[in-house]
C-alpha cells in the first residue's frame, strides 16, 4: 500500500514532466472543449451540457493512451525489472498507474466544468454526484484498459497502432463525437456492446436530464463491470520482462471478458432504454438546427 502511494507520487511527477502527457491529457481536451462548445453551443446555451458530456467522456477515455505507451516503454527499456528486484509487486505497479491517472484527470475535468459554466454559460451544474461516479468508474476502466494494451503489445509502435484503432472506435461509435441518434441504426446497435457508450450516455443523462444516480443504473453497472474486468485482466496479463510472453491462459481470459459485454449489450437491446434516453437528451440541443460536429482528429 505504501509502495503504491510512493509510486503514485513519483509517476505523477513524471507525467507532469512529460510534454506528450500534458498535451494529450490536459491541453487537448481543452482545445476540444473550446472547439465543440465554441462552434456548436455558442448560440445555443441549451446545448452546452450535452457537449460538455462529450468533452468529459473524451477526457476520461484518453486515460488509456498515455498509460499504455508509458508502461510498454518501462517494460521494453528494462525499467520494470529494476522495480521487480526491489520489494515492489505487480499490485503496487498497477494501482499506482491508475491512481496517478485518476488524480491527474480530476483537475482537467474540474477545469472543463468551470469553463463550461463560466465561459459558455451552462445554466446549471447537473447531477455532480452522478458525474463523479461515472468519471471515477470510467477512469478505472480506461486506465486499466491501457494497462491491458501494454501487456499484449511488444513495442511502442504496436501500442500506438492498437491505440489508434480503439481511440477511433471510442470516439466515433460511442456517441462521443457524433451523437448516437445521428449514427446509422446498425452502429447504434453495435454501440450497446461498448463500455464507452455507457460512459457517454451516462454523462449525458446526469448533465442534460439531471437524473439521479438510481436512474443511470444500467450505465453504472456497465462501467462497474468493465472496471472490474479490466482490473482483473490487467493484473492477470501484467508482465515485467520484455521477453515474457503472454500465455495461452491469459489470452483465453482476455477473450472471455467479451462475454459480460455481450450479455450486457443483449440485455440492453432487449430491455434497456439507453437508445431512447440518448435520443431524448439529443433532442434538447435540436431547438436550433445544428451541423454535424467536425470529425475529431486522433493524437499521434
Amino acid at each position: 500500500m505504501r509502495n503504491a502511494w510512493t509510486l503514485t507520487k513519483v509517476r505523477m511527477r513524471l507525467a507532469l514532466r512529460n510534454r506528450a502527457f500534458i498535451f494529450f491529457s490536459l491541453i487537448f481536451p481543452l482545445i476540444f472543449l473550446f472547439l465543440f462548445l465554441g462552434l456548436f453551443a455558442r448560440s445555443n446555451v441549451a446545448a452546452v451540457p450535452y457537449m460538455l458530456a462529450s468533452v468529459l467522456a473524451i477526457t476520461v477515455m484518453g486515460s488509456f493512451w498515455g498509460l499504455s505507451v508509458q508502461l510498454v516503454t518501462f517494460r521494453e527499456q528494462g525499467i520494470l525489472r529494476r522495480f521487480r528486484v526491489a520489494p515492489v509487486g505487480p499490485g503496487a505497479m498497477l494501482a499506482s498507474s491508475i491512481a496517478s491517472n485518476y488524480i491527474l484527470t480530476l483537475p482537467a475535468v474540474s477545469i472543463e466544468f468551470v469553463l463550461a459554466r463560466r465561459v459558455f454559460h451552462m445554466s446549471q451544474w447537473g447531477n455532480l454526484g452522478g458525474v463523479f461516479f461515472l468519471i471515477t468508474l470510467g477512469i478505472i476502466t480506461f486506465a486499466a484498459l491501457g494497462l491491458i494494451i501494454a501487456s499484449v503489445t511488444n513495442s511502442t509502435q504496436e501500442t500506438q497502432v492498437i491505440n489508434q484503432i480503439l481511440w477511433s472506435a471510442f470516439l466515433f461509435l460511442s456517441g462521443a463525437t457524433l451523437p448516437l441518434p445521428m449514427l446509422p441504426i446498425w452502429i447504434q446497435r453495435f454501440a450497446l456492446f461498448l463500455p464507452a457508450t455507457y460512459l457517454v450516455t451516462g454523462l449525458e443523462r446526469v448533465l442534460v436530464a439531471r437524473v439521479g444516480v438510481a436512474q443511470i443504473g444500467a450505465e453504472i453497472v456497465a462501467l462497474a463491470v468493465s472496471a472490474a474486468m479490466a482490473l482483473f485482466l490487467s493484473q492477470q496479463l501484467f508482465r515485467w520482462e520484455p521477453e515474457a510472453k503472454v500465455g495461452p491462459r491469459a489470452k483465453a481470459l482476455a477473450a472471455a471478458t467479451i462475454v459480460p459485454f455481450l450479455l450486457l449489450g443483449l440485455w440492453e437491446t432487449a430491455h434497456g432504454n439507453l437508445r431512447s434516453a440518448a435520443r431524448t437528451d439529443f433532442l434538447t440541443i435540436r431547438s436550433e438546427p445544428i451541423d454535424r460536429p467536425a470529425p475529431f482528429i486522433a493524437p499521434r
Binding site: 509502495n3 510512493t6 513524471l14 528494462g78 525499467i79 525489472r81 528486484v85 520489494p87 515485467w240 520482462e241
Partner: protein
C-alpha cells in the same frame, strides 16, 4: 563454518533450443567476493538472474540467505541488492528521487543523501536520469543497489562498456565494499577485474563451471606453463614457433606472439637460434606469470575475448 550464503547446485536453464546452463554449481560464503568469469553467452546473467528471482530455473537447487529465490516471499527482496546488466530508469526521473524512491521500498534503509555523497553524485542530485553519463548511471545503479544495506549484492558486469578510468573508480568502490565484508557475487569478462577484486572465481563457459578456486589456485593450475610475449621484426607463423623447444602453445594477436612454454630457458635459446637462421630479430620479449586468461585458454582452447 556456517552454511554458505549462496548455494547453487546443478542449475540448468534453456531458452528454446539454447541450453544456457548445463548444471552450474558453486557456493559463496558470507563476506566473500565471488566472481563468475566467462565470455559472452557463457550463462553468467542467466545464473545471477535466477538467484535474484528474476528468471525461473529449469532444474537444480538454489538458495540465497537460506531462502529460495524461485518462490520469493517479501523477505527475500529485502535481503538482496542488485546491479542488473540490462535495465534503466525513467528518463525524467532525477537522481535523488530515484534513490529516495527505492529507499522507501525497504524496511532497512540507508540515508539517500549519504549514499549520493559516497558515490560522487551529490552535484548530480537534481539531474534527470537521461542526462547522466554511462559512468554516472553505473554509480547511481550501485548506490541504488545499496539502499537497503543488502546481505547479498549481485553485480552483473558492473564495468562493462565503461572507459578504463571510470572502471577504476568502480573498482575502488567495490574494494571498499569488500573491506566492509559485504557478500558480493560479481560477473565479468575482464580478467583484471576477477583477479583484482574476487576472493574466489568460477570460470564459466557454455553453461558450465569449468574451474573454480582463488585466483592464485587457478593460476597454479597452469603453473606448468609460463607466458612469453614477443614482438618480432618480421612476422612468423604460429606453427613455426610451436616447433620450438618447450613450447606448449602459441598464438598471435595484434603483432604480439604469446608463447606458452614449459621450459623457458630452452625455449628462449631455441627461439634465438631459429630467428638467426631465418634472418629475423626480436624487437621485444616479456616473460609473464600466468594469468586467468591463460587458464581459460588452457581449459577451452579459446581466448576469453576475441
Amino acid at each position: 563454518m556456517s552454511a554458505p550464503i549462496i548455494e547453487v547446485h546443478n542449475l540448468t536453464k534453456h531458452y528454446g533450443d539454447v541450453q544456457a546452463l548445463r548444471g552450474v554449481s558453486f557456493e559463496v560464503e558470507e563476506g566473500e567476493v565471488f566472481g563468475l568469469l566467462g565470455p559472452n553467452g557463457a550463462g553468467k546473467t542467466s545464473t545471477v538472474e535466477i538467484l535474484e528471482g528474476l528468471r525461473a530455473a529449469d532444474g537444480g537447487i538454489v538458495s540465497v540467505c537460506g531462502l529460495d529465490p524461485q518462490t520469493p516471499g517479501p523477505a527475500f527482496k529485502q535481503e538482496i541488492g542488485a546491479v542488473l546488466q540490462s535495465t534503466a530508469l525513467p528518463d525524467k526521473l532525477r537522481v535523488a528521487e530515484a534513490v529516495s524512491m527505492f529507499a522507501s521500498f525497504y524496511k532497512r534503509r540507508r540515508d539517500p543523501a549519504t549514499l549520493l555523497k559516497r558515490f560522487g553524485l551529490e552535484e548530480k542530485r537534481n539531474t534527470f536520469y537521461s542526462h547522466l553519463s554511462g559512468g554516472q548511471k553505473q554509480r547511481l545503479a550501485l548506490a541504488m543497489s545499496l539502499v537497503n544495506e543488502p546481505r547479498v549484492l549481485f553485480l552483473d558486469e558492473p564495468t562493462a562498456g565503461l572507459d578504463p578510468q571510470v572502471r577504476r573508480e568502480i573498482y575502488t568502490i567495490i574494494e571498499e565494499l569488500k573491506k566492509e565484508r559485504k557478500t558480493i557475487l560479481l560477473t565479468t569478462h575482464y580478467i583484471e577485474e576477477a583477479e583484482k577484486l574476487c576472493d574466489r572465481v568460477a570460470i564459466v563457459d557454455q553453461g558450465r563451471v569449468i574451474a573454480q578456486g582463488t585466483p592464485r589456485e587457478l593460476k597454479q593450475r597452469s603453473a606448468g606453463t609460463t607466458r612469453i610475449e614477443l614482438r618480432l621484426a618480421r612476422p612468423e607463423t604460429d606453427a613455426a614457433l610451436k616447433q620450438l623447444d618447450g613450447v606448449a602453445d602459441c598464438h598471435a594477436s595484434d603483432g604480439v606472439y604469446v608463447v606458452h612454454s614449459t621450459r623457458v630457458p630452452q625455449t628462449i635459446v631455441s627461439l634465438v637460434k631459429y630467428l638467426e637462421a631465418h634472418g629475423n630479430e626480436l624487437s621485444s620479449l616479456d616473460i609473464a606469470a600466468p594469468s586467468l586468461e591463460d587458464v581459460f585458454l588452457e581449459l577451452t582452447g579459446r581466448r576469453l575475448r576475441d
